[in-house]
Amino acid sequence: MKKYLVLLTLLTFAILVSGCGKKPAVEPEMGDRSTETTSGDTGDQGNTDQGEQVDTSTPLDFVTIYFDFDQYNLRDDARSGLKNNYEVMNARSDTRIQIEGHCDERGTVEYNLALGEKRARSAMDYLVSLGISRDRISIISYGKERPAAFGSNEDAWAKNRRAEFVTK
């Protein structure tokens, strides 16, 4: 009887833990661009779980990070995305990358080119602060010229305000 109780407790705990790990806000590591981290400019409480994340496996790939409207500062989800990208670069020490900064359509051509560059630079500076050598990173801005999603709505805008990581 006692055995069953222990088993049940363990099982419940396991389910809880695995459930916890699947919170979308802390899953940029899975390399899935479509996760809802994109629109998470509000409550990113999921990030409190960050400390529990002990992922010993090699990260799969670079993830895209996202920005708030008119902003180039790094959100919490962008920082965790960058930590993932840092791991990727560490695992592949010969890899050089270009960070592409992009913007949504609600900016002018010229200003967006400048803003996209600031976004790419924010990402680069963060990676450098984590310990990546600056000569492994170059940056470029495409402003609003290469959107990831079409449409004049919050969903498309949120997906377009991004920095992508391309191996060179």
């Binding site: 359509e105 002018t108 051509v109 200003y111 495409y142």
Partner: protein, 442 residues
């Protein structure tokens, strides 16, 4: 003694400071007066009739259709021009009075003050046109007449020359109908530079590097364009000679090279460079060598544009949080903020007379409106309220504008007068943007 030296030094410093303060040339008083009258509806456009272009010599289907085509081009030109209204044939009038031949006095009774007529002859592949511009009121008299000839393929240009003559002889202004517009289209799948006539006709592709080309800016004397290009994989500014078809790099500094504009004296270029880590305005020479740095702030400074005298440069800066329009002298001193209305303003361009700034202002709906404001900061006006409109650029006469309208996934070029009383779509590919109207070539 000592005191007088101090006074002297103070005077020198003061006069130097005054010299740096941005000053504007008073715009032509007549222009301001006329602008005010048009804006308030207290000005009547010139009423012009465009008569049939009569076919001389042998009548053929091709000559007849050419005559009708040219009549339509002149009519469309003057219909669009802010100074003109064209008078259509009144069928009612013609029927009731059983008029067979519309003579100048008939046009006059239909409301025309001026009449443009022409004779057209097709000899081989050559079009020969004689046009006459007549004043009908208070009395009928010929203002000018001229014989022109060209190839059939070039007939649109010849028609535009007749329209230019009408503007010159009737309104005593310079026309813009033979000028062209540089722009960007992605109809090949890549953003390439194109050129078209002012009315969108005769589009030709001028770059084909299959990358990304933006922000064309005209040389002030020759058929050359500066533009932002990604052809090397970086954001650089290159120059394209339209006649020779040759491109050469101009500004290739580390970081981004963006949004160039040639100075009125054609010797310098204002440009945005981020070589020191942040977008700042610089003046470079025509070979791209840096002459001076104009701004030095952690904010974004972009979209530099020269006043017609070359003494001032307007630009946008988000130093106050979001982009606003500022003006400084061309050495980078005496910065003053021009726009306070609207949270996000960019893409400034001085009018060719220097009295008005056009720019775009973002509304709360995220859409851009083309706006104008006097360089004194007064008379803020919102133009064309439909779609989201960007990259306004003055016609060389300063009475009209070209801009790009985004509607859904489509973007097309439009032209309008500076009060947006007349609006005309000039491209139809749904993929055109970044227009730059050619200046008058001296």
């Amino acid at each position: 003694m000592k005191r007088s030296i101090v006074y002297c030094i103070t005077a020198v410093i003061l006069s130097a400071m005054i010299g740096f303060v941005t000053t504007f040339e008073p715009a032509n008083a007549q222009t301001l007066d006329l602008a005010q009258k048009i804006r308030t509806g207290n000005w009547k456009p010139y009423k012009v009739a465009i008569g049939d272009f009569k076919v001389m010599g042998q009548l053929s289907l091709s000559t007849d259709s050419l005559a009708k085509a040219m009549q339509k081009i002149v009519t469309d030109d003057l219909d669009f021009h802010i100074f003109f209204d064209t008078i259509p044939k009144s069928q009612f009038y013609l029927d009731v009075w059983e008029i067979k031949d519309i003579t100048p006095d008939v046009w006059q009774r239909m409301g025309a003050d001026y009449l443009i007529e022409g004779d057209i002859e097709l000899v081989g592949g050559e079009v020969k046109v004689t046009y006459r511009i007549n004043e009908l009121s208070p009395r009928i008299q010929e203002l000018t007449s001229k014989k022109l000839s060209t190839t059939v393929a070039n007939h649109r240009r010849l028609a535009h020359m007749i329209s230019d003559a009408a503007v010159e002889h009737i309104a005593a202004e310079k026309g813009f109908f033979t000028t062209r517009i540089a722009y960007v289209s992605s109809e090949t799948g890549h953003k390439e530079l194109y050129l078209c006539d002012y009315d969108g006709a005769n589009p030709i592709q001028i770059t084909a590097d299959k990358t990304l080309n933006l922000s064309p800016a005209w040389d002030r004397k020759e058929e050359k364009l500066l533009f932002t290009t990604y052809r090397t994989g970086r954001m650089e500014v290159w120059e394209r000679d339209i006649r020779t078809g040759k491109s050469q790099p101009i500004s290739t500094y580390a970081g981004s090279n963006n949004a160039a504009e040639v100075s009125p004296d054609n010797k310098e270029v204002v440009i945005t460079l981020s070589k020191d880590g942040n977008s700042e305005l610089y003046v470079v020479d025509r070979k791209g060598k840096i002459k001076r740095r104009l701004t030095q702030l952690p904010s974004i400074e972009v979209s530099g544009t020269w006043s017609p005298t070359g003494r001032e440069i307007a630009f946008s800066s988000d130093r106050a949080g979001q982009p606003q329009i500022f003006v400084m002298d061309s050495e980078g001193f005496g910065v003053t903020r021009l726009t306070y209305e609207g949270k996000y303003n960019d893409s400034p361009r001085f009018s060719p007379k220097g009295d008005v700034m056009v720019f775009v202002s973002r509304g709360d709906d995220g859409r851009f409106r083309v706006c104008t404001i006097d360089v004194t900061g007064q008379n803020f006006q919102k133009l064309d309220q439909t779609g989201s409109n960007e990259n306004p650029h003055w016609s060389p006469d300063g009475w009209h504008l070209v801009y790009c309208k985004y509607q859904g996934k489509k973007s097309d070029l439009y032209i309008m007068d500076r009060f947006s009383q007349k609006i005309k779509k000039i491209t139809n590919d749904g993929q055109s943007s970044n227009p730059a109207w050619q200046p008058y070539i001296p």
